[in-house]
């Protein structure tokens, strides 16, 4: 598996430059967190927690602050025990998010993962809008060697999902994974359309466990918080996929989202290949925030 070696200065760099804990030290730490896209609000809140603990525990060594911070972040990003329980059930996975974040690619990767586990997988090409979106998902279905249900370009995405649910039942699929068109969260009609797709799944496939994964591009800044809030309004998000972590962005916005909206990252994307999907590991994620 790939590691995320960032060439940006990380928290480690900041810490190593200080021999005592003072205001300058905290300011540098704040800067490092903000540079990782934590956002001002979350960065300040976390640091004020840390300051209290440093006082309480009479900590004098900057390197010990590092451990405190790590523990705090790992605590925030902790996954509940049932995070992956859907993988053991008959499930339908709805993939949603704004344009270009990596939804279709993530579906290709998930399909491969479940296929390799010996599961019966069906894909639904419910992005009927984007140019060649259907062909793109078809290519992934070929790579993973799984079934795909697709309609005509520009046809009703709800109808595709409807057909796909029918096919999943008939073929006794373990996993039905639905692609959707990228849409910006401030477009009311497109969000309504997504709400409808979501309802069709609830109505037509109540016996399946429903997993709704919001895909976020780790390069995205504070707007990702807005995305998560708005998508949460139309579908009950059960997890986040954080993509493009093979780049230099740290994806710190996921920490803001987890602490403000209580949405957990379940998967990370670390490349464009079919195997470049990993379970989220809070420790590795936090470790990577510190690395330079």
């Amino acid at each position: 598996t790939k590691t995320r070696d960032n060439i940006l200065g990380g928290v480690d760099q900041v810490l190593s430059g200080f021999s005592s804990i003072d205001e300058d030290f905290y300011e540098e730490l704040e800067e490092a967190l903000i540079m990782a896209d934590f956002g001002v609000h979350t960065a300040l809140r976390i640091l004020s927690d840390i300051k209290v603990k440093v006082k309480e525990q009479h900590i004098k060594d900057p390197m010990e602050v590092k451990n405190l911070l790590k523990e705090e972040l790992m605590e925030i990003m902790h996954l509940s025990d049932d995070a992956y329980i859907f993988e053991e059930k008959k499930s339908v996975i709805l993939i949603i998010g704004v344009n270009g974040v990596g939804k279709t690619t993530t579906i290709g990767k998930l399909a491969m993962r479940y296929k390799a586990q010996g599961k019966k997988v069906v894909l639904a090409a419910a992005d009927t809008f984007r140019a060649a979106a259907i062909e793109q998902l078809t290519e992934w279905s070929n790579r993973a060697n799984v079934d795909i249900v697709a309609g005509q370009a520009n046809s009703d995405p709800g109808a595709v999902v409807y057909d796909a649910v029918f096919a999943a039942k008939a073929r006794k699929a373990d996993m039905l994974i639905c692609d959707t068109a990228g849409r910006l969260h401030n477009k009311k009609n497109l969000m309504d359309e997504l709400g409808k797709i979501n309802k069709i799944i609830d109505r037509e496939y109540p016996e399946a466990h429903k997993e709704v994964l919001l895909v976020l591009d780790s390069t995205t800044g504070q707007n990702a918080l807005q995305q998560a809030k708005q998508f949460k309004e139309v579908a009950n998000i059960t997890g986040i996929v954080l993509t493009k972590l093979d780049g230099t962005a740290k994806g710190g916005i996921a920490i803001a989202i987890q602490s403000e909206l209580n949405l957990s990252v379940k998967f990370i994307g670390v490349g464009e290949g079919i195997d470049d999907l990993q379970d989220f590991n809070p420790e590795e994620f936090v470790e990577a925030l510190f690395k330079q």
């Binding site: 903000i34 990782a36 270009g100 990596g102 060649a132 992934w140 390069t219 800044g221 707007n223 780049g247």
Partner: protein, 308 residues
């Protein structure tokens, strides 16, 4: 939103002051704290924010407050002026090859930024202005990338040159130039695959393309929602390949778009167009001044001040 109230906060900071006529260091510092927060919430890069705030501070401290303005409005005016100075105040046009040979543009950027869509939008826009464009499918990696370009090309009735995904982008581009000159195309737009700025092999591919094809402009396509990393991406693309202009996409969202300021600050290259939607007609000329007030989130306040 965190700083719809930036102007309110300014009012509060300066409310307690009598009209002293001059701004004290303490007042300016308090105001700059709010500006700093607002810019960071808008995703402007931390280092860019620091420089910006220092520049404003220096100008504002001790400055005479004009008769017509309150101290708060006066500082806002300075902030805005400095912002426009950074963003640039004029629109920036595309350049064209003169005398023989077609104008060639090469689109580059991270994965999913909007290169393919923007290639088509740009071709459509210039076709309306009388050019005869050819779109070239140099993305041989992404599944159905060629098909995507063909679909959008067809929607605009603009021909797409492709050679499948078994040829190298450099060979496709060379053949496209030949095809273009035979068919009298005066505008050639190369759609390239999305790539990470730290991917040496993929960056080398662009370097070679640029060396051989010699595009009139290399256009970096940047997603307006990009966070702190925007400076890093822009810096590396510019350093390694050389960028002539930037196109900012997905501005139809509700992001403040601080990436615009970051990218401009590190590359000094103009932002030429803004992507305003998924439709192929959703491409607009980029107005730096408007972007400045969008990032600060105080368009209304500025109109008020201008009238004062």
């Amino acid at each position: 939103m965190a700083f719809e109230s930036l102007s309110d906060k300014f009012q509060n900071i300066f409310n307690n002051l009598k009209k002293k006529g001059k701004l004290s260091e303490a007042d300016v510092k308090a105001a700059m704290r709010e500006v700093k927060m607002a810019l960071l919430e808008a995703d402007v890069n931390f280092k860019v924010v620091k420089d910006f705030v220092n520049a404003v501070k220096e100008r504002a401290i001790g400055d005479e407050v004009m008769e017509s303005l309150t101290p708060g409005q006066h500082v806002i005016k300075i902030v805005n002026e400095e912002m426009v100075a950074l963003m640039g105040s004029d629109e920036s046009e595309l350049t064209f090859t003169t005398g023989g040979g077609p104008t060639i543009y090469m689109m580059v950027g991270l994965q999913g930024a909007g290169k393919t869509t923007t290639s088509a939008k740009l071709a459509g826009l210039l076709k309306k202005k009388g050019k005869k464009p050819l779109l070239v499918a140099c993305d041989i990696y992404r599944p159905a990338a060629i098909k995507q370009l063909q679909v959008v090309g067809e929607q605009l009735s603009i021909p797409v040159f492709s050679m499948g995904n078994q040829n190298k982008p450099i060979d496709i581009a060379k053949a496209a130039l030949e095809h273009g000159s035979k068919n009298h195309h005066d505008l050639i737009i190369l759609d390239t695959a999305g790539r990470l700025h730290i991917d040496e092999t993929m960056m080398d591919e662009l370097i070679e393309l640029k060396e051989v094809i010699k595009p009139k402009e290399t256009l970096l396509v940047v997603d307006a929602m990009t966070g702190q990393d925007a400076v890093h991406v822009a810096e590396l693309f510019n350093e390694k390949i050389g960028v002539d202009g930037v196109i900012l996409t997905k501005l139809d969202g509700d992001t403040r778009g601080g990436a615009a300021l970051s990218v401009k600050a590190v590359t000094q290259k103009p932002i030429k167009f803004a992507g305003m939607g998924e439709k192929l007609s959703d491409l607009e000329v980029f107005y730096p001044e408007r972007m400045a007030s969008r990032i600060l989130g105080m368009g209304d306040v500025l109109t008020l001040i201008e009238k004062a």
